[in-house]
């Protein structure tokens, strides 16, 4: 299964764009559900961080990106990988510890990277990817390659020094960088109310002399529009933009989460703001897609995930051969 060539453009600009946006949100949703199921049945090990409820952010942002634009991602990174065009089978294979997995079983859920789609990697360290994205943007500027870099990170990462240092450097050097904060309300158990003395995290942009915008992160259209503006600015040499995409994580932080820090009511409230029906209503209301087309896309996405699980499960397990040799890239003569 090869990655689909990325489609760019406004999700409501054509039936094709609408289908694409819907398909990718469904893919993310179904992928996460499959992962949760496999964990529940003991077929996956380690840990996992699910992004169910947050699908509109990566999907909307990546609709604004070319295939050679670069991203860095987070520990909750499956959605970014999928939205940037990663192969579902290789992703699932990685989580199952298979040889054909993106990292050959050496990385797992938190470390999927895909050089072909400009994905510089998910990251197990909060904020770890932000300076790296700044560096990618620096390279773009130095090489005049015209690409932009998007760093996805959570609200928690905005309190890391890495965010501050990268945002400042990107600002002073006017790097083609989009600082894309997925504010899902909690850094593990710490709410943004406890961790910030700010109403809108995007206000931090002003501290670096860059624009900061807050958008409804459950509205793929709003996300796209904000991202598109930021990308245009970046490509135009005007420097970075901070986007705060307000969303919500339905599931616990990780497998061990008992949701003691929030109420069931709050979770249900956010489930009513599900980004997928939100978008379906929009496309049906505007007559961009029919109900049948929507159902067809849902069906296709389910089949694609099932196929990915099937192929990944059947694949050869990773073996310890060559582990030592894999530490360094061989020095060519």
């Amino acid at each position: 299964m090869t990655a689909n060539p990325l489609l760019m453009g406004h999700p409501l600009s054509s039936p094709e764009h609408a289908k694409h946006a819907l398909l990718y949100m469904y893919r993310i949703r179904k992928f996460e559900e499959a992962v949760e199921d496999l964990f529940g049945r003991g077929m996956m090990h380690g840990t996992m961080h699910l992004s169910i409820g947050q699908e509109a952010g990566p999907t909307g942002a990546c609709l604004a990106l070319q295939i050679n634009d670069q991203i860095t991602s987070t520990h909750r990174g499956h959605g970014h990988c999928i939205a940037k065009g990663a192969d579902l089978t290789r992703m699932m294979a990685e989580l199952l510890g298979k040889k054909i997995g993106y990292c050959g079983g050496r990385g797992g859920s938190m470390h999927i990277a895909d050089a072909e789609t400009g994905n510089l990697g998910a990251n197990g360290v909060v904020g770890g990817g932000i300076p790296i994205a700044a560096g990618a943007a620096l390279a773009s500027k130095m090489r005049k390659s015209g690409t932009v870099a998007v760093s996805f990170f959570g609200d928690g990462a905005m309190n890391e020094g890495a965010f501050h240092e990268a945002a400042n450097m990107a600002a002073i050097w006017k790097l083609p960088l989009i600082l894309f904060c997925e504010n899902n309300k909690y850094g593990m158990s710490s709410s943004t109310e406890k961790a910030f003395n700010l109403e809108n995290l995007a206000d931090r942009g002003r501290g670096y002399g860059i624009p900061g915008v807050t958008v409804d992160g459950n509205d793929v259209v709003a996300v796209y529009e904000a991202a598109e503006a930021a990308v245009a600015r970046a490509r135009n040499g005007e420097g970075p933009t901070l986007i705060e995409s307000v969303t919500y994580r339905w599931k616990g932080h990780s497998r061990s989460d008992k949701n003691l820090y929030r109420t069931k009511e709050e979770i249900e409230e956010w489930k009513d703001k599900d980004p997928i029906p939100n978008f379906i209503h929009k496309v049906l209301d505007r007559g961009i897609l029919t109900q049948e087309q929507v159902e067809e896309i849902q069906k296709i996405s389910t089949e694609q995930i099932m196929q990915a699980v099937k192929e990944a499960a059947a694949a050869e397990s990773a073996t310890p051969d060559g582990l030592l040799e894999a530490v360094f890239k061989a020095v060519s003569a």
Binding site: G107, A113, D114, P131, I132, G135, R143, M169, K329
Partner: protein, 332 residues
């Protein structure tokens, strides 16, 4: 011209200049490396030769600097980071140890990080505990980093050029007291490269093997020359790179001399020289030891300020001399 006696600062600058002329993806970033020329003057005139974009002054943001270098390296550039003092790498450790070191392995090999991090280290300047450490064991204990500790200008030039060529992150630790002194050997002109992971036998001898890196090579060499007059013949080995560590010449030497002394400026506890000792202990050369292995290293204390205190914290020439004489005299 083959008799050019350069200082290590000059040799390192020359290597960077050659690399920047050779490839346009090579650039330097760090604090005060531009018009200032670097805190120790290492980048010198490179700013004027290559411009502000390729000799990039950064804010005081070690984590951000290294992170940006990692991202640039992932995107086809070959950054050389200068961290003003090795002590400040602590600020950047996530990007060094968790990101740069692991990306190639952890992310499945599709990406790699051709990054060089140069930084001055070592005591002897009265700068006290946060500006004087020798941190090679920090990096040597992280799989995925190569660690180079040059002891002289000629090696520094050749090793740095190889480090810049290397597709992996390389930590390049320069002893700040070596910056201003010329080496014993001339520095060849041109793009000479010395492969990483090849130990150098600095001096041959038959009574005692000394393994040392960085400034301790110079100190040990002086001792070896002095003791030669007393009939004590010292073989001095400079591994030059700590990761990877080329042990074969060390084993061979121990096989010959039967006596081993390892010298390091940093604290003895869990220092890199302990790896040398462990490797020798596990090798066939162990059976040929006629003396217990002597470890001469810094005290297990933060480097103190006052000169008389700083001096006792790390091995001095007299200490090396006394230890070498004692081991040869006591163990026959």
């Amino acid at each position: 011209m083959s008799d050019r006696m350069l200082t290590m600062a000059e040799a390192v600058r020359e290597a960077m200049g050659i690399a920047m002329e050779e490839r346009e993806e090579v650039f330097i970033l760090g604090e005060d490396i531009g018009i200032y020329g670097g805190a120790f003057g290492v980048t010198g005139d490179l700013y004027h030769r290559f411009g502000s974009e390729r000799v990039l002054d950064t804010p005081i943001s070690e984590l951000g600097i290294v992170g940006a270098a990692v991202g640039a390296a992932l995107s086809g550039m070959r950054p050389i980071v200068e961290i003003q003092f090795s002590d400040f790498t602590a600020q950047a450790m996530d990007q060094i140890a968790n990101q740069a070191a692991k990306i190639h392995f952890m992310l499945g090999g599709a990406l790699h990080v051709p990054l060089v991090l140069r930084t001055p280290q070592g005591s002897g300047t009265g700068a006290a505990a946060q500006h004087s450490q020798n941190l090679e064991p920090w990096f040597a204990n992280v799989p995925g980093l190569k660690v180079v500790v040059p002891s002289n200008p000629a090696d520094a030039k050749g090793l740095l050029l190889s480090a810049i060529d290397d597709p992996n992150p390389v930590i390049f630790l320069e002893h700040k007291l070596l910056y201003k002194i010329p080496g014993r050997d001339p520095v060849p002109e041109g793009a000479i490269r010395i492969p990483l992971g090849v130990s150098k036998v600095v001096r041959t001898g038959k009574d005692l093997t000394i393994v040392a890196t960085g400034i301790m090579v110079n100190k040990s060499f002086e001792v070896a020359e002095k003791l030669a007059a007393e009939g004590i013949s010292i073989e001095l080995i400079d591994p030059r790179t700590i990761s990877p560590l080329d042990t074969a010449p060390i084993f061979e030497s121990v096989e010959k001399t039967g006596r081993l002394m390892v010298v390091q400026e940093g604290p003895s506890h869990a220092g890199y020289i302990n790896e040398v000792i462990a490797q020798v202990s596990g090798s066939a050369s162990f059976g040929n030891l006629i003396a217990p292995i002597k470890r001469l290293a810094g005290m297990n204390i933060p480097i103190p300020y006052a000169p008389q205190l700083e001096k006792v914290a790390v091995p001095q020439i007299a200490d090396i001399e006394a230890a070498a004489r004692e081991i040869v005299k006591n163990w026959r």
